[in-house]
Subunit: 384 residues, 4 copies
């Protein structure tokens, strides 16, 4: 980890590193093989204060920065992608809860007793999270009934709550957000996730059928969910997603460098690193990764300084980092050759994890469309 | 399957299709999940005459053509990559046996009673199969002692014989070939293959320690193994490898087309196929695949007509097909988005299989080096 | 030139080669420098029977094939891109005239006394040639009045006639075609072309204001122009455009090979060809070009045999060849390094010519859209 | 210009902008067309203090920073690439003169009365500037005789002096540097540069035959020229080269954005910017450029703070910026379609300029080799 991201300092940082070394790391391969949710790792991270990192001081949290959260996610992603994604989604969800949620949940989060996640994507609108089809209806008793077919909810069935999007109850606008307890009646996690990468992140569809929540479960005002999502959740999610991709990228480059330095062509008496072609390709990939780090650093600085281009930078940084991760991962698979096909090298696991980010909403294509619209003076949302 | 490759005609073709439909296809997912060698599929293919396809009529074979073998491998690869690779390696090995091997083995092959494979790559020289470090020593009793650390032998522990490379016994030259029975004392398959793709092809390291074979096990003359490998094995292997890549590519495009046509963005009331971007990218990939098919067809025609550029074409065709498979596979993963991360769509299995060809010896880089040397008037072998 | 295209045989072929050697070649640099139309070259080609190649025997033509025309264009393109493009557009225009035009013009074409060209693209619809805005109005005297702002007409002010598209006079449909004599009143060539590549092809905007033509100038039926364009002009244009790109590509590879073989790093005592990196890259580009040749050959064969996929192949072949030309050209510029920046090497002229094809209508993007629609079961024309 | 680079402040900055607006800009097209050296522009820049920017205060200079020089070069490059390259090479040369040169030349430079340039590359070692073949021989009268065939000297015949590399006179090592007055007897500029891009930068071969310089012309110690080149010249050259590429890139993106926003498809009643495909591609290119800016900014900061990775960053930044410029330029040519082929749009001039940086020594491939060696623990110089 260098300039662009940072882990929490001193004591907290040491505890974090210990959890990585003693729990998350040793379990990573098994999590990947079995596809089991990394409960032990998440619990240990909670115990080390990692889940509460962003919690505000007034609720007992350390008031950690987004830069620190990025440091945590980057570091985790190189060790266990599934665990990193669980923490990432938790951080993204807590941005809303910390602004609009009830005090006791905020306190529980700050103290590491509550794991949350986002429930945005839906079966019908796929990765277009800005167009929920799920509904919220005010019942006669004052409660609200939620119905939706959510897809791809990280930590499905594992988190304590979902930050849930629906159409507005009564107001104009396209979205309203809710804090839905995971044990609400009517919530059904549909099937285990058996996937290509991030195999332990419990990313499953969740159906909500007549889920009843109190009116106070609303996060922010009715109909203003998209503003909250774009202004609060998205910057956090996008920056952390970039940090995730960077972490996987760095892990891949480390493994590749070791392979190139350690593998010999005995009949030529040289290592692979001493061959001009792999060296050239490695440097090209190394440069790609370094460019992502600079860009992520610049994005964080822009956010911290409220620079006007910050809004564009967060959209760009996820696209750049995700595409770079995919490119570096593909290059690492090629450079490590047949060896990368063996699981024990660790390259193929990171390769599989690396491909997730570009297709997670907002996808690279969606981000480019937003950025292209911004750069060319067009409205941000409008289908063509 | 279109112009470029063809399956054996009529009766044989129908039996082949039946085996695909009834045995190979239904077992493919399990083979991939468990990493188990597809014994039932290989046995059924043997029974349908597929293993004996290239067998010469004088030994009871149908005298099938390389074009037909390519058709078989292409078809298989789209259904079960592991089975396809086993058959491919068998065909490549039998080219040598059919020219230089003993009559009874040739008969057994023609009759589908013998599965063979190549044992070329070694730990020390890695993918540079043209530089074996393994030795062959003539013993006082006239037998020959073979020692080597072979790596990445397909069907290791499953085949009946290995076509084995070593340094020459006594003559100049860089290689001598041997037919080594799989039950020879001193052969050890080292560990199960637990890999990224082609998980059922039993591709494991094989150590030969003081393996004793009769002098008659030599395939061709002492020291002339490289000529045999380049003139006989390589064209067959390269063409079939291209057919393999093309088969996986076509399967990926079929799955992707289905996904694009069948997935709707309900809030926009259109399928993904109706979105300009995915359509554009699909067409680009479709064109890549069609270009491989034309090139493979042209390569086969060049071989059949003994056109002078045939030698260059076989080197090129594997590189083109393997790189295209990797590119199409990556594009399919992207186009199918999150859905491709679910195993049941079948995309991720083909994606993993698709990445194998480019790193199998001779790798794309090695092939480009050969072709570059040929095109620029340099000697073919010479390290730089 | 190899299998995929062919020049007219024996006597005709020899005359063609002589014109290339004695006229077109020696003038190519000057044509490029000055941007002057290659009148001497076109006249010499006419004299050698090249302009009349496709002329039907009943009008005194040799009845040459599209494959021969492709051979001519490929060969020309490597020597002088501007001349090649002029001939290409002439061939494309004559496909319509030969089917629907008046006998005397057909005879003049067959005898090399008439140069024609296409006038399809318009200022308003840009490269979407299938959507002309220009009008055709029947006057009281039975003549027809044409108005349009044509853009990018090759041989503007140099050809003897234009094959001109407009909206239909009276019928439904989107297009009607006309044979417009170049000396018609109301035609104005607007300004000299001073461009990046193909600098001598006189590609200028042409305004038609109240151009009067007889009703018999209509080529085919009113409103059926798009069918004619798609069925007759387009296959010819697309195939020849591919041949054009291939010709430029081959010229670039020849120049690059010479550079790599002839340039020495004296302090290392080796040529650039002896460096692994440039050799690798050269082979990659060489393979790209060879894949285009196979594909073009396959496309021509598909057309000759009326294979069902022929329609798709012609759309694909221009895209593949144009993109390959651009890629090879860029690679050649890189491989030839600083030397390519000097005009006398000839690389930069071909590089500039090579980039034209991909943006000529139908552009690569348009072709991919058509092919994607065909492959995904959507209607061919429909804007999104 | 944003965060990463900056122009000299207030008065100086305003004068600079005025020169750009009134002299450099209006002459740019003519410089490109005629290939004439931009004497008026250089003179005006000198007058505005731009040539003396890096001059130390003790010699009357403003002691400008590398970041300011980068700002100047970036700004110039978007307006007139040739002028920018002349200034870039002058700055790179003055780094050595300012450290090791005579006071009066340093004063002349600070006062804008002296234009210098680098004379490193040679015919024999091509872009491998670290391996000069040219010689330096001490004569009996104490003077030194220089002989070399220099290639590609920017401002050849226009500059007042050359910073000249040769083999050492007597010491070990590979290089010694000299300050050679441009009017020295024995210097011959060989031919005018008539090139693809940067057409006005007077980049010609220069032969030195028995050029006599005083022993005091030596810049630094005998045999230590490579250290000086790597430690002093290279960081400046590489950073400014990146700024050059970025300036051209930004100009191309500006022109492309204008084209997309201003061009209408009238039959669809929308601009090109409203088409999903061009918008997507534009955003992708825009992101590439922004990543370069962040990386350049980070590189400058690393240099300013003497961060340990600064040495690697300067090698990387030129590679990243040059490759990005080439990629963006190619994309701009495609996005602007046929229009980009017309000179008056200004795209094709920047496109031609943009391709220069990647092949200027050290080329992208050389930089990747250095970076790969550094990252993989190998010695920096060693040929393979």
């Amino acid at each position: 980890m260098t300039a662009s991201t940072e882990v929490p300092p001193t004591a907290a940082g040491e505890r974090f590193e210990a959890v990585l070394r003693e729990t998350v790391g040793p379990l990573a391969d098994e999590v990947d093989r079995t596809g089991r949710f990394p409960r032990d790792g998440v619990r240990a991270l909670a115990g080390a204060g990692v889940l509460g990192l962003l919690g505000a001081p007034e609720h007992g949290g350390p008031g950690g920065s987004l830069r620190q959260a990025a440091g945590v996610v980057e570091r985790l992603a190189g060790v266990c992608g599934s665990t990193a994604m669980v923490v990432l989604m938790h951080y993204a969800a807590t941005t809303v809860i910390d602004r609009h949620g009830p005090g006791e949940v905020r306190r529980a989060i700050a103290e590491g007793r509550h794991l949350s996640t986002l429930a945005f994507s839906e079966r019908g609108s796929r990765s277009h999270f800005w167009a929920p089809a799920g509904t919220a209806v005010r019942e006669q008793d004052g409660t609200v009934r939620l119905d939706a077919e959510k897809s791809w909810i990280t930590s499905a069935g594992e988190a304590d709550s979902y930050v849930w999007s629906s159409r507005p109850v009564a107001e104009d606008g396209v979205m309203t957000l809710w804090l839905v307890p995971a044990d609400s009646a009517g919530l059904h996690v549909r099937g285990d996730y058996d996937g290509f990468g991030l195999r332990g992140n419990a990313s499953s569809p969740v159906t909500g059928k007549a889920v009843s929540v109190p009116a106070t479960a609303m996060l922010g005002a009715d109909g203003e969910g998209l503003d909250t999502a774009l202004g609060l959740v998205l910057p956090c999610f996008l920056v952390l997603s970039a940090a995730f991709s960077l972490g996987v990228t760095e892990a891949l480059l480390d493994l590749t460098a070791s392979h190139l330095r350690g593998s010999r062509l005995e009949h030529l008496d040289r290592t692979l690193a001493q061959q001009p072609l792999p060296r050239q390709e490695f440097a090209r990939l190394r440069l790609r990764a370094d460019a992502v780090r600079s860009f992520l650093d610049d994005t964080l600085t822009a956010l911290e300084a409220s620079r006007p281009e910050a809004r564009l930078r967060v959209l760009q940084v996820k696209a750049l980092a995700a595409e770079t991760a995919a490119e570096v991962a593909d290059g690492a698979m090629r450079l490590c050759g047949g060896s990368a096909f063996r699981r024990d090298l660790g390259v193929e696991r990171r390769f599989r994890d690396a491909l997730a980010a570009r297709v997670m909403a907002p996808t690279t294509e969606a981000l480019h469309d937003f950025c292209g619209r911004a750069a060319l003076g067009l409205p941000l949302f409008e289908e063509a």
